[in-house]
């Protein structure tokens, strides 16, 4: 495998990690007011993601940083091209993050309610927009190109209406509903009491519609470029959702969570797999299309970055796994002593 391909793989892995990990954070955030009928329930709901959401969010920072370093033209064309959607994601991530940290800082129902809205909306917007953006990248965008010179690049000319096409909207809907399911399954695994009960019921009811939407989107994604080596992955993602439903009915929440995580991971693999070897597909002029080959940084940069990743990524995986191990206990079951702090 050549270096640019390896780095495409690295970017895909980081995005996949982000979608799987923040997927349940977003789901939990969207479901906060639905499952948390009283303050105790809401504390249990948010307590499930409290220690880990910040670390999960860094996967996005790392993914975008890797795009910047390894494929500068892709990074630049994508984030300027999706200007307004990305702006809304940023605003959403700001109010969600502040909400998660600040809502408990005052004992005041109106204060908490406002932050709960921020957390809910701040989870919904990125859940939808990232699905829409990834779908549009795979589908292709109208472009032009700048004159040759320092920093010459492809420029996305898509209007907001272009971005809100049916396929991309379906993509956004699929990530949103998948994250809802994933978040509910996570809560059923990590909590006890009324939140666990509500989460499991929600997951059991939604798993079939989510499965149908996901199948529709995966089919449309595969149809964009056939034949595709990702077809078995798409089958696996669908199968994982079926297994998630079975596991939920059997009360095996750990297996259900593994299954929804696999489904989201599979979806991400299909999207990035369908994109490869292109990065940003031009629908107006194939010469503008950014590819792994023409957008990549020089081999020296990629070699340096590879060494950094080889040394530090296992370390990151190690201590993040440890943090999940530390907080492995269910919340909200038997009476728990209030935390000292």
């Amino acid at each position: 495998m050549d270096l640019p391909t390896a780095w495409f793989l690295a970017v895909a892995v980081l995005w996949t990690g982000y979608l799987v990990l923040e997927g349940f954070d977003f789901g939990v955030g969207m479901l906060l007011r639905a499952f948390g009928r009283d303050e105790d329930d809401r504390e249990v709901t948010l307590g499930a993601i409290g220690p880990v959401w910040d670390g999960n969010e860094v996967w996005l920072i790392a993914a975008v940083g890797a795009m910047f370093a390894a494929f500068p033209a892709w990074y630049a064309a994508t984030f300027s091209g999706f200007y307004l959607p990305v702006l809304f994601v940023l605003l959403a991530l700001i109010v969600r993050g502040v909400g998660l940290e600040y809502r408990v800082k005052r004992d005041d129902a109106a204060w908490k309610f406002r932050w709960d809205l921020c957390i809910g909306l701040g989870s919904l917007v990125p859940a939808f927009v990232w699905g829409m953006v990834l779908a549009n990248l795979v589908r292709g965008l109208p472009t032009t190109a700048t004159a040759p010179g320092p920093g010459a690049n492809t420029v996305v000319t898509a209007s907001l209406a272009d971005l809100f096409n049916g396929y991309a909207l379906l993509g956004g809907l699929v990530t949103t509903t998948l994250f809802l399911l994933h978040g509910a399954v996570f809560l059923s695994l990590k909590t006890d009491g009324p939140v666990r009960y509500r989460a499991r019921r929600f997951a059991v009811v939604t798993v079939v519609p989510v499965l149908l939407l996901t199948i529709a989107f995966l089919t449309a994604t595969l149809a964009l470029r056939l034949p595709s080596w990702t077809t078995p992955v798409a089958w696996a993602a669908g199968l994982a959702l079926v297994l998630a439903g079975i596991a939920l009915l059997l009360g095996r929440e750990g297996w259900a969570f593994t299954a929804t995580a696999t489904a989201i991971g599979g979806l991400s693999v299909v999207l990035f797999g369908q994109l490869y070897p292109e990065l940003l597909v031009s629908t107006t002029d194939p010469a503008h299309t950014l590819t792994v080959a023409n957008a990549a940084s020089a081999p020296y940069t990629l070699t340096v970055m590879s060494w950094v990743a080889v040394v530090f990524l296992p370390l990151v995986l190690g201590y993040q796994a440890w943090s999940y191990w530390v907080f492995r206990k269910r919340l909200g079951g038997a009476r728990v002593e209030p935390a000292v702090q």
């Binding site: 105790d40 504390e43 249990v44 307590g47 409290g50 220690p51 959401w53 910040d54 670390g55 860094v58 975008v64 940083g65 910047f68 370093a69 494929f71 500068p72 033209a73 990074y75 630049a76 064309a77 984030f79 300027s80 200007y83 307004l84 990305v86 702006l87 940023l90 991530l93 700001i94 109010v95 993050g97 502040v98 940290e101 600040y102 408990v104 800082k105 040759p148 010179g149 320092p150 920093g151 010459a152 420029v155 996305v156 940084s297 020089a298 020296y300 940069t301 950094v308 530090f312 201590y319 943090s323 907080f327 919340l331 009476r335 728990v336 002593e337 209030p338 935390a339 000292v340 702090q341």
Partner: protein, 492 residues
């Protein structure tokens, strides 16, 4: 007004705002970790209480630093896509390293620290806050290396085919003298802010103890000693860090002479090359006419700062302009002289004022003294009440923070008209496909949201300072049995 101007304003506003929280995160993480270490080693409750009290204030600030930092990473691509395409091969590497090496460490371990009080062994829990503090302090290096490269590009070449910069030597980028010198300067200045924060909070609490507001409850007896000590500790941190700021700042001036002569000349409003140049204290000039009407100077000091010798030669704006025209072709290579001149003075003046307040505070509180109090902590008679000291300490915090901000304005405005010195002009860096309306909308959205969050954050900090250490960790005689709770307290 075009998209370029608004994109510059947006970068300025979002970056300055982000940097209001960064120095406190960098410095306070280490101070809180040190307090917890003191508790770990001595087992004394007052250290634990101080850890929790300042820890809460730290976390309120930390959250804002994290969320406003995310914007930065996307903003390069959104508003500055030509810049990003040009520099990504060089500039992206330290950014990716920052995420992989520092941010994961910081964010994962801060979560473990917040929620790990009753789940981790004491020593492991202590290691978590240190890991987060190391992550914070490490992250600054990578982003400053990236910033230094823009001012002094090294270890790269421009690919003639793609028109993009290409990294040739990562060691040169990371060991850029501008990078490590700026790093020491920024880290030391962060500790000035963090020390002053601890001192200002403590001073405010002592002032309220000595001159209470009407109807305010009497603070717990132990708080007097806690805040006397923490105020002293804050003074010590600020004074030591202040010396390092001065030393690294001196080195920065010498590097500017070498690599950024235009910035130095503009910051001094020095129009013509001079030997034995004086340091300007106050000047009123005519920028179009390239001369100063009034200029109050201390002779030889600028030459000394810039070259190490009071007789050294310092290049003037017009001379640098002429040499740049020869190098880069016709054009105006002068930054905004008035902004640079006054930023330089405000950075030094306000920053040094904060340090001076700390040094004076150390003297006034020597050997257990405390203005306004007798030796055993009782209020001293009114005539000896030095309320002004407490007020000055509280005022020193925003002053020094403003000094920090003016330092960044000097750095960034001093690099103009370039984004990458000698390679790419700011005017050529902007995203070609982004419209004026889009930038205006995002600028308005960020400014409005940041304004609201500033009020919320300041209100919360004030509320927690007012509530005091007893709220962070109740005093034993005051605790009443808590009602039965099913949920673990999600409070931190």
């Amino acid at each position: 007004m075009d998209a370029l101007d608004l994109a510059r304003w947006q970068f300025g506003i979002t970056t300055v705002y982000h940097f209001l929280f960064v120095p406190l995160t960098i410095g306070l993480s280490v101070i809180v970790a040190s307090l917890q270490t003191a508790w770990f080693r001595t087992g004394r409750t007052e250290y634990l209480r101080a850890t929790k009290f300042f820890g809460k204030l730290f976390l309120i600030n930390f959250a804002m630093g994290v969320v406003t930092g995310i914007v930065q990473e996307f903003q390069f691509g959104m508003n500055w896509s030509t810049y990003s395409t040009f520099v990504g091969d060089v500039f992206g590497a330290p950014l990716a390293m920052e995420a992989l090496i520092a941010f994961f460490l910081e964010s994962t371990f801060i979560g473990l620290w917040i929620f790990g009080w009753d789940r981790l062994r004491k020593g492991v829990h202590l290691a978590c806050i240190w890991a987060a503090a190391i992550g914070s302090n490490l992250s600054a290096y990578f982003i400053l290396a990236a910033n230094a490269w823009m001012r002094n590009p090294v270890g790269y070449e421009v690919d003639p085919v793609t028109g993009r910069a290409r990294l040739t030597d990562i060691g040169a980028v990371l060991m850029n003298p501008q990078a490590w010198s700026t790093y020491f300067h920024v880290i030391a200045a962060s500790f000035v802010i963090a020390g002053l924060f601890v001192a200002a909070v403590s001073a405010w609490k002592l002032m309220k103890e000595r001159w209470p507001s009407d109807g305010a409850p009497t603070p717990h007896a132990s708080e007097h000693e806690l805040f006397r000590k923490s105020m002293r500790a804050g003074f010590v941190v600020t004074a030591i860090a202040g010396m390092l700021v001065v030393a690294s700042g001196d080195h920065q001036a010498k590097l500017a002479t070498q690599y950024e002569p235009m910035k130095l000349a503009a910051a001094e409003a020095l129009w013509q090359t001079e030997e034995s140049a004086g340091f300007s204290l106050f000047a009123v000039g005519d920028i179009q006419g390239s001369r100063n009407h009034i200029n109050v100077q201390i002779p030889g000091v600028l030459s000394f700062l810039a070259t190490g010798s009071p007789w050294g030669e310092v290049q003037g704006i017009e001379n640098v302009q002429a040499s740049y025209e020869q190098l880069y072709g016709p054009g105006d290579y002068t930054p905004n002289i008035a902004v640079l001149y006054w930023s330089f003075r405000l950075m030094m003046g306000l920053g040094l004022a904060g340090v001076a307040v700390s040094v004076a505070g150390l003297w006034l509180t020597r050997r257990g003294r405390l203005p306004g109090f007798t030796r055993d902590g009782a209020p001293a008679p009114a005539g000896r009440a030095h309320r002004w000291m407490y007020r000055a300490v509280v005022a020193a915090l925003p002053a020094a923070l403003a000094g920090n901000i003016f330092g960044w304005i000097l750095t960034e405005m001093g690099r103009q008209p370039w984004t990458v010195h000698g390679e790419l002009l700011t005017a050529a860096s902007v995203s070609p496909g982004v419209s004026l309306g889009q930038v205006a909308f995002s600028l308005a959205a960020f400014t409005a949201l940041y304004g609201v969050l500033a009020v919320v954050e300041a209100g919360l900090l004030f509320r927690y300072v007012k509530a005091g250490p007893g709220a962070a960790m109740p005093y034993p005689d005051e605790t009443t049995p808590e009602p039965e709770r099913r949920a673990p307290a999600f409070s931190y």
